[in-house]
């Protein structure tokens, strides 16, 4: 466990710039979630930290030591691959034991059996230990892949969408488990996900990547409550932030071209009229699809709302975000 520093990392694949001058400090014990659509550079960042790829420029240091030219084994990092990458010629038990038998650790058999047992129990795959790695469902493979990382206490855990193939219940359980491991071990996590809930509940820090550039880095609340751009604002929040022309409402500052309204930034009950086009009852909340002067927007209302489509709702912005023509925040 140690602080991870990425300084001015740049990586090209052919003509595409996968990472563009990314600098980031992952504090000791932090849980950093990287957000961004496919191709934003999330996986590339993990691979550069792991040592599987070499940067074209810039460097990585772990605990103050420059590891840019070191192999993955020398860096002592654990990684959960998006494609699982289980060893197909081994059983689940052998897969989980493989890192512990490496020249890096060389645990004895009793230690290996204990560690593998613990991790298998936690991931609910103990009954599959003697299966071939190929004789598993997608969700089970993914859990073995997580287990292969968790049997170790590395300098950093790198996880690439580790919960994507699991069902909702297991995913919720493992979110808590991973968070516990991070809290107890203090090992920093660098974690890629598309899942909003994972990002909001697990992250101590969020890094927003856009076309290989780190556009914002901060706590999930900072990103949510103080986004630097339309892009960063759109990464977090369900339903997504509504982006509308700024002149739809009064009070836009000069230079603002767009107004950003999260559901809680739309006050209902006074202001201008909008028409309800659809009502979605989700149980704990109700989503309202509104038509406001020919623009669609989505907000949230009381779970027991009696509103029906065709009803009129008055709305007014409440401390909204404003953005300029390029999408950057205007204060």
């Amino acid at each position: 466990m140690a602080e991870i520093t990425l300084s001015n990392l740049t990586k090209r694949f052919g003509d595409t710039l996968a990472l563009d001058n990314v600098s980031m400090t992952v504090p000791n014990g932090a849980f950093v979630v990287l957000l961004g659509p496919t191709g934003a550079g999330k996986t590339t960042t993990l691979r550069l930290v792991s040592g599987l790829d070499q940067p074209d420029a810039g460097g990585v240091s772990i605990g103050g030591v420059d590891v840019t030219r070191m192999t993955p084994a020398q860096r002592n990092v654990a990684m959960v691959f998006q494609q699982y990458s289980l060893y197909p010629h081994m059983t689940v038990r052998e897969n989980l034991a493989f890192p512990l038998k490496s020249p890096l650790l060389r645990y004895d058999d009793a230690q290996i059996a204990r560690k593998v047992g613990e991790v298998a129990e936690m991931l609910q795959i103990a009954h599959k230990l003697d299966n071939k790695a190929t004789a598993l469902s997608g969700g089970e493979m993914q859990r073995v892949s997580i287990g292969r990382a968790l049997v170790r206490r590395p300098e950093v855990y790198l996880m690439d969408e580790p919960l994507s193939s699991l069902d909702a219940k297991l995913r919720a359980d493992l979110r808590v488990e991973l968070k516990n491991i991070q809290a107890q071990s203090g090992v920093p996590f660098l974690y890629v996900t598309h899942d909003q809930i994972e990002a909001m509940t697990m992250a101590s820090h969020v890094g927003v990547l856009d076309h290989g550039r780190l556009v914002q880095f901060g706590t999930p609340r900072e990103i949510y409550e103080d986004p630097v751009s339309v892009y960063a604002a759109s990464r977090l929040g369900l339903p997504r932030i509504n982006i509308l022309p700024a002149d739809l409402f009064a009070g836009a500052p000069s230079g603002a071209r767009f107004i950003g309204l999260r559901p809680e930034q739309i006050r209902q009950g006074d202001g201008d009229e909008s028409r309800v086009t659809r009502v979605e009852h989700l149980g704990d909340q109700t989503r309202l699809h509104l038509k406001f002067r020919n623009h669609d927007l989505i907000t949230v209302t009381d779970a027991h709302s009696g509103l029906r489509s065709g009803d009129i709702v008055q709305i007014t912005p409440d401390a909204p975000f404003y953005f300029d023509a390029s999408g950057a925040r205007v204060h």
Binding site: N76, Q83, P88, P99, S102, P103, T134
Partner: protein, 312 residues
């Protein structure tokens, strides 16, 4: 389950498929059965016309194959009655065993040269194929083409330069020389076949092993090799079959010490008239190692391509 199914063949289709397989099996197995049967015939039965399907089995061919014999007088036999079953077989023709033939020695030469060159071809081939498959090798495509080009003409086309080279290097009629030659011929096949197999192994497995604390070479031996087993086994079989059956170079380059079985077996005919049972016996024994080797590696061949645990 009734009527029409896409996945299950109909009984009629099964019957036709079975008949075709049986026909093919008969065509390919018949010459083999003929050779094996001839090995157990007496000299007279072997050349009988029409050929005998039912015959009294005899080990005459095998005894002739492994021994050299000389003619003896009736007085000699009266004084030295045959003691063993094979001496009795020989005596019935008025002969006595003078000593072992050179077949055993030639056979061993084949084993040493065949398996030696197979091991070397597969060992070097796997390392080269891995490098070509995984690393940035300068002029990779040109090198691969060059390697393939060594097989663009029949190897025997360069027999004379090789003969001269071997003579001046002192490699003629040596085991090392023949192993080297067969390895050189097989290596292009081995590199190309194995590169194909290794290309099919996703490099994610090695990356996982690198992350798990292993070096590149350890990842190669612990993760890549087990998964390349199918490819290595089939490549080894191809290499062995070539080296084992090779005749032309063996005739040209070996004689006294390193001669293999293929050039030796035809010489059996000349020793004592047309001794077809002995030739057939030699051919039968000669077939065995490749058969055994193939059966031993069958497990790996049948396993085929492993369905991986990598999400596509």
């Amino acid at each position: 389950m009734s009527g029409y199914s896409i996945t299950e063949p109909s009984p009629r289709q099964k019957w036709v498929a079975g008949a075709l397989v049986a026909l093919y099996a008969i065509i390919t197995i018949l010459p083999l059965v003929w050779i094996i049967a001839t090995g157990f015939k007496s000299s007279a039965d072997a050349i009988a016309y029409p050929p005998k399907v039912v015959f009294a089995p005899s080990l005459e061919g095998y005894v002739n194959l492994f021994t050299t014999q000389t003619r003896q007088t009736a007085e000699y036999f009266a004084a030295n009655p045959p003691e063993t079953w094979y001496e009795r077989i020989v005596q019935s023709k008025g002969l006595t065993i003078a000593g072992p033939s050179r077949f055993g020695e030639r056979f061993m030469n084949s084993v040493i040269i065949g398996f030696g060159s197979t091991f070397l071809s597969v060992f070097l081939g796997t390392l080269a194929a891995y490098a070509f498959s995984r690393f940035k090798v300068p002029l990779k495509d040109d090198l691969m083409f060059f390697i393939l080009s060594t097989r663009m003409m029949p190897p025997i086309a360069v027999a004379i330069p090789i003969f001269l080279m071997f003579r001046s290097l002192g490699l003629s009629d040596t085991h090392a020389g023949m192993i080297l030659l067969y390895t050189a011929v097989n290596l292009s096949l081995s590199v190309w076949l194995l590169k194909g197999f290794i290309d099919e192994i996703p490099h994610e497995y090695e990356e996982a092993a690198l992350i798990d604390g292993y070096t590149r070479f350890q990842a190669f031996t612990k993760v890549v090799l087990p998964q390349a087993a199918t490819g290595i086994a089939s490549t080894a079989i191809f290499c062995l079959i070539f080296a084992w059956n090779e005749y032309a170079f063996a005739v040209l380059l070996t004689s006294g010490t390193a001669q293999t079985a293929p050039p030796f077996i035809p010489t059996i005919i000349g020793n004592a008239g047309q001794d077809w049972p002995a030739v057939a016996a030699g051919a039968t024994l000669f077939l065995l190692p490749v058969m055994v080797f193939t059966i031993l590696l069958r497990k790996h061949l049948l396993r085929g391509i492993t369905f991986g645990a990598v999400r596509k």
